[in-house]
Amino acid sequence: MRRVLLAALALALGATLATPTAAEAQAWVRDPGSGYVQLGYRVIRDADRFFDPSGDVTDIAPYTQHTLNLYGELGLVDRWLQLTVAGELFRRNVLVDQAAVAGIGDFRVGLYTGLYEPESSGRSDPFPVRITAGIEVGLPTGDPNPSPNVSQSDPNFAQLDAFADTLPTSDGEVDVTFRLLAGWGTRIRRGSRPSLDVYATGGVGYALRNTPRRLPAILEGAGDIRDQLQTRLELGIRSTRPVLDRFWFAVRYNGLYVVQNRNASGQQSFAGLGDGVEVSGIGFVVSAALWKTLRVSFGADGAVAARNLPSAAAYDLSLSYEF
């Protein structure tokens, strides 16, 4: 069972359209000294529609976003403590045929602890769901206010600065997210037919957002980014038939919702990093084992409803290794 759960963990790292990184911690806390590292590339290409602040879709100039993401987990104390680090090593925001901004993005550091593990009761899976709590701190390592790098006396400064403001690589604030995660996995035996491994994982989080530093001038004095509720659910399956057992298939749902003054107009955000961003997204991921615990995964996510977010599918390709 443990092997199934760990294999599921290697896959259960979903993407969202509006979170800084493509991977997130799950309910399985790693053993001390064991870890997981994932390098992923994500692209949102030629998004020419936009979920406006009221949730309606409007046409916009095409927008493309490339990110190179790093995610890592390391078990520190058996069951009780796991360290996570997630961040964008590189982010390039592009207003197609207009302007682009590139640089490092934001990072998140988290600590997770196992609240409940089935094995901890000493009996055989009395309640086969493990529950984990965590806290993550978001660090504004990117640039919330890119500069056009021309003098303010340049006659084109105002226009160029407006384009640069549109393409931040950071939300500009230190935030704290409290998360509660649950995970379940089992092997379904089907007589003489190959068994199926399945898992379900999900969680909720509350993000305490803060006041961004060094905002673009157009947003100065706008105050705190409103707090958000995060939700996610992922269901995965694989066959135990030889060769097929290398592949996991999963579907996932991600939600991000403003919980303070939800209908206030807020600061607005076009790049998915500022205030007022909401999304209800669904997606899928396929993961294949290449060699031992080295895996390659491909996934796609799209928003079925959102606010202040480009309307386009996000595609992920990642390489992960578990040790």
Partner: protein, 207 residues
């Protein structure tokens, strides 16, 4: 065409500090991908509401009417009593007024008037109830069409003002060299993403 700007000085140092675990941000690198996007725009004098202290906007070189490309509609306004809006404003010069309405989920409020000053300039007055959304790159546009859509036609959609944070709310007077089209419309607009954030369908009024 592509023009790249170099990373800001100190960015490397900042990133090195980041590697040491110090909380600091890394400056990003900006590129303009199409030089033709640079908009000369009309020359603008932002008078503020107290008037008198005309402050030519150094950021907007005078493109003049030729740049604007708006045909002189040659409007004549018969029978408009001179309300004495301003010295030098002829009674035959048209005056338009309208109220902003929301567009694309963004809120815009307040009134706007367009006064042809008769000397090639137009005075644009935003009322005390004016407000528009703090989107990136917000601009004020006078156009001869009632919908801009997703692409600016820079010969018809004239950017007359670039909003600063302080200018997003409240009264303002702007004087700009411009020939008003026959049926002008005023927009607040996000230039980078080409999104209308407010619109005022103005109509000619008596002085």
């Amino acid at each position: 065409m592509q023009r790249a700007f170099t990373m800001r000085a100190g960015g490397g140092t900042t990133c090195a500090l980041l590697a040491l675990g110090v909380l600091a941000g890394c400056d990003a690198r900006f590129e303009l991908l199409d030089d033709s996007l640079i908009d000369p725009g009309p020359g603008v004098a932002d008078l503020g509401l107290d008037g008198g202290n005309a402050t030519p906007d150094a950021g907007m070189p005078d493109g003049g009417l030729d740049d604007a490309g708006l045909a002189d509609a040659g409007l004549t306004d018969a029978g408009m009593p001179d309300a004495g809006v301003d010295a030098g404003v002829g009674s035959d010069d048209p005056l338009f007024a309208g109220t902003f309405e929301d567009r694309n989920g963004y809120t815009a409020t307040g009134d706007v008037t367009l006064e042809d000053l008769g000397d090639g300039n137009v005075r644009i007055t935003l009322s005390s109830g004016f407000s528009t959304a703090a989107v990136p790159g917000p601009v004020l546009i006078v156009s001869d069409r009632d919908s801009i859509g997703r692409r600016l036609d820079r010969s018809r959609d004239i950017i007359v003002f670039r909003f600063t944070r302080d200018a997003l709310v409240g009264a303002r007077e702007i004087v700009v060299p411009l020939t008003l089209p026959e049926n002008p419309t005023v927009f607040t607009y996000c230039e980078p993403f080409t999104v209308e954030t407010g619109r005022a369908l103005v109509s000619e009024v008596t002085r």
